[in-house]
């Protein structure tokens, strides 16, 4: 069947929640009504990245990218674009008057500075159709590996590329493969860590949803390289779309003989299965992940022995993250030299970040290593909304730290981020503006770790809990002299004593905010003030007498009748009654109420 037009509709989780399936249903209905259902093909695809402007759809052959499309817009798109061939300019992304519509988004900063390697097929192909992946050179790398290369040559190529683990710690991938390959055993395993758990991070989910075959192909290559015939993808059950597409992709790969016995008529056989995690954060830690695959309670164990020696069911196991795998096929096809020409001296290639928080363009971006934080925040991210000032970026999730404004020009790579007390992490990046309280942020991440601590080792189970209690006190205005020092002492012992990476790095958000924003902690403890105006216990809402017109609106809005006064004279808030809900400040038309 030949179609004259292809409509690609984003079906990543972001666009699905902003109703892209409804758009597709409406469009199908209208195509039939117009009798063009055999001329226009609707294709669901993966994430385009600019979730802020979703749902996004792209219509070919014109290459028109439409953004923020609602169900009500579909009729116009069908009638104008698909029936009459007229571009619906008002919905175009970027330059609405572009002479060539396919170039309308070229000058959108969000796209201009990106380089898509891991996300190369996201938003380009239909993830539920293996042939579209094959059309984009899919499985050619596997073919090349098993028919032309020895396992040692595959590992040498990966080593030479300089690829480092994208899960966060940045361990050289080639070396990890080498360790697993050199073990002698009757059985080895290849595992994929798709237990993405950092708050705000969704890179791995987007790859699995938009290009599941790239991970499957890479795992088969890894199996060939280390001598394993069985793989497991450990993915969280909270990613239903990713799980569904992975299942479809694995089934198709089996049907096409790209998984299973004697792949490409060689001796190499490889099977792949999914294992669903119930959503415990600690299961993203490699030893806990494998314990969970084995069917036991997801708890970490001591290392060594490392998984490459004794992993799943006691056998040598290779474990990489989703984004790491997504890079592998391209490296084998384009070569290690091509890959290592991108990035910085010690960090090669690109990194995918999920940008969120106080930023214009929330979404998914892939940038070459060495791009500065300033470029990410201002050029790609579009800057901070409402004219506010950038205060810090948080990377690395609950194991990472904050990068303050002084370091905006730091080129992002593994080593630079570690040096300033943060880390690359798996790719979550939360942007904070001047209204963010750094003590509150540290508390947020610590609450997360306390919640997610598996409880096996005391430093993490008890230590993080005590740290949270201190932070809680500080934000309640009950901080005492010496609290900051106690936090530092606890952080050090947790870092040294905890069993796994989750525990060891749990104090990082506190340490890094202390390093750059110690004055904010001191203001909370000594002056009982929250400089950013976030910690409600330390705030007072006050009416400025000069500005108050005495309209009585705030008094009428106040849910606890804490505001009193006489009409046309300044009103007053009774601090004992005030519950600090902020309703008065929102309702005042004269900006006469301040929080101090």
């Amino acid at each position: 069947m030949i179609y004259r037009s292809h409509v690609l509709v984003c079906n990543g989780t972001g666009c699905v929640s902003s109703k892209s399936p409804d758009l597709m249903a409406k469009m199908e209905e209208l195509l039939v009504a117009n009798g063009i259902e055999n001329e226009v093909k609707i294709i669901k695809t993966g994430c385009f990245g600019l979730c802020e402007k979703g749902p996004i759809l792209v219509i070919y052959p014109e290459g028109a990218t439409y953004c923020n499309v609602s169900v009500d817009d579909i009729e116009e798109i069908v009638n104008e674009h698909l029936v009459k061939g007229r571009i619906v300019k008002r919905l175009l992304l970027g330059d609405k008057e572009a002479e060539d519509v396919s170039k309308s988004r070229d000058n959108v900063g969000f796209f201009a500075k990106q380089k898509r390697i891991a996300l190369r097929n996201c938003g380009v192909i239909n993830p539920e159709n293996i042939e579209e992946y094959i059309a984009h050179d899919g499985y050619l790398a596997l073919a090349k590996a098993v028919t032309e290369m020895t396992p040692a040559e595959v590992i040498a190529e990966i080593t030479k590329s300089g690829l480092r683990g994208r899960g966060g710690a940045g361990f050289p991938v080639g070396r990890k493969w080498q360790f697993a390959a050199q073990e002698v055993s009757d059985q080895k395993y290849v595992c994929c860590n798709a237990d993405e758990g950092d708050p705000g991070a969704f890179m791995d989910r987007s790859i699995l949803e938009g290009d599941p075959h790239s991970v499957i192909e890479a795992m088969a290559i890894a199996g060939y390289a280390i001598g394993a015939n069985q793989g497991y993808i450990y993915v969280r059950a909270e990613y239903p779309i990713a799980v569904e597409r992975l299942n479809i992709a694995i089934k198709q790969a089996h049907e096409y003989g790209l998984l299973g016995k004697n792949i490409f008529n060689t001796d190499f056989s490889f099977n792949l299965e999914l294992r669903l995690g119930a959503g415990a954060f600690v299961c993203g830690e490699e030893t806990a992940l494998m314990t969970s695959i084995e069917g036991n309670r997801g708890e970490p164990r001591t290392r060594p022995p490392f998984p490459a020696v004794k992993g799943l069911w006691g056998k040598p196991t290779l474990l990489n993250n989703v984004e790491t795998y997504a890079n592998i096929p391209v490296i084998l096809l384009k070569g290690a030299d091509w890959f290592s020409s991108i990035g910085t001296e010690k960090s090669k290639g690109t990194k995918v970040f999920a940008i969120g928080g106080k930023i214009h363009n929330t979404g998914l971006v892939e940038i070459p290593m060495g791009t500065t934080l300033r470029e990410v925040v201002y050029d790609i991210g579009g800057g901070i909304p409402n004219g506010k000032k950038f205060k810090a970026a948080q990377t690395g999730g609950p194991s990472g730290g904050c990068i303050p404004a002084d370091h905006l020009d730091i080129p992002i790579d593994y080593d630079n981020l570690l040096e300033i007390g943060s880390m690359m992490g798996s790719g979550g990046m939360i942007i904070m503006d001047e209204d963010t309280c750094m003590v509150d942020i540290a508390k947020f991440f610590l609450e997360f770790t306390v919640d997610e601590s598996c409880g096996k080792c005391p430093p993490c189970r008890i230590g993080t809990k005590r740290m949270l209690e201190i932070l809680d006190r500080i934000t309640q205005g009950k901080g005492e002299e010496g609290d900051i020092e106690k936090l530092e002492a606890l952080a050090e012992s947790i870092n040294k004593g905890a069993l796994c990476g989750l525990g060891q790095t749990a104090p990082n958000p506190v340490l890094s905010t202390l390093k750059f924003f110690r004055d904010e902690y001191e203001a909370h403890v000594k002056d009982k003030k929250c400089p950013a105006g976030v910690c409600t216990a330390l705030l007072n809402y006050v009416i400025i007498a000069d500005k108050c017109k005495g309209c009585s609106l705030c008094a009428r809005k106040c849910p606890v009748n804490a505001i009193s006064g006489e009409v046309k004279k300044p009103y007053v808030i009774d601090q004992d009654k005030c519950i600090k809900c902020g309703v008065c400040m929102e309702s005042c038309k004269f900006a006469a109420i301040e929080k101090k």
């Binding site: 030949i2 179609y3 004259r4 037009s5 292809h6 690609l8 001329e39 070919y60 052959p61 014109e62 290459g63 029936v83 009459k84 061939g85 007229r86 396919s102 380009v124 192909i125 042939e131 579209e132 094959i134 059309a135 050179d137 899919g138 499985y139 050619l140 073919a143 028919t147 096409y256 003989g257 790209l258 792949i263 490409f264 008529n265």
Partner: protein, 122 residues
């Protein structure tokens, strides 16, 4: 999958199906599909273009539509826009003429002069 050749064959076939999504360096055939064009039979012209391109495995040309080109009395009209931007306007088309344009203009790079607007207006 038994051989790399088998994989490459699937790749070629799939590439053809998605070639419409790559619009770099391609000849564009644009058919006027306003009310006047459709009434004059532009729809069968467009389908003929699409079918002929598919039948001949042509990957360097796409068919799309546009609105009213302005000379309704000469509909159905199609413009063939080369990679260099050079435009040839064909008028009073039907399915048969469309197939000939693909064969001669797109494949052999010789415009079908007798169908062009210049000839029709003589």
């Amino acid at each position: 999958m038994k051989s790399v050749e088998e994989l490459k064959a699937i790749r070629e076939k799939a590439l053809k199906e998605i070639s419409i999504r790559d619009n770099e360096n391609k000849i564009r055939i644009v058919v006027g599909m306003a009310t006047c064009g459709i009434a004059a039979g532009a729809k069968s012209v467009m389908n003929a273009f699409a079918e002929e391109l598919a039948k001949r495995n042509i990957n360097n040309a796409t068919v799309s539509m546009t609105g009213c080109i302005g000379i309704c009395r000469l509909e159905p009209i199609a413009e063939v826009i080369g990679v260099d931007g050079e435009k040839t306007t064909y008028v009073k088309l039907d399915a048969e003429k469309a197939r000939r344009i693909v064969a001669e203009h797109i494949v052999n790079q010789k415009p079908v002069v007798e169908y062009t607007i210049g000839e029709a207006e003589k």
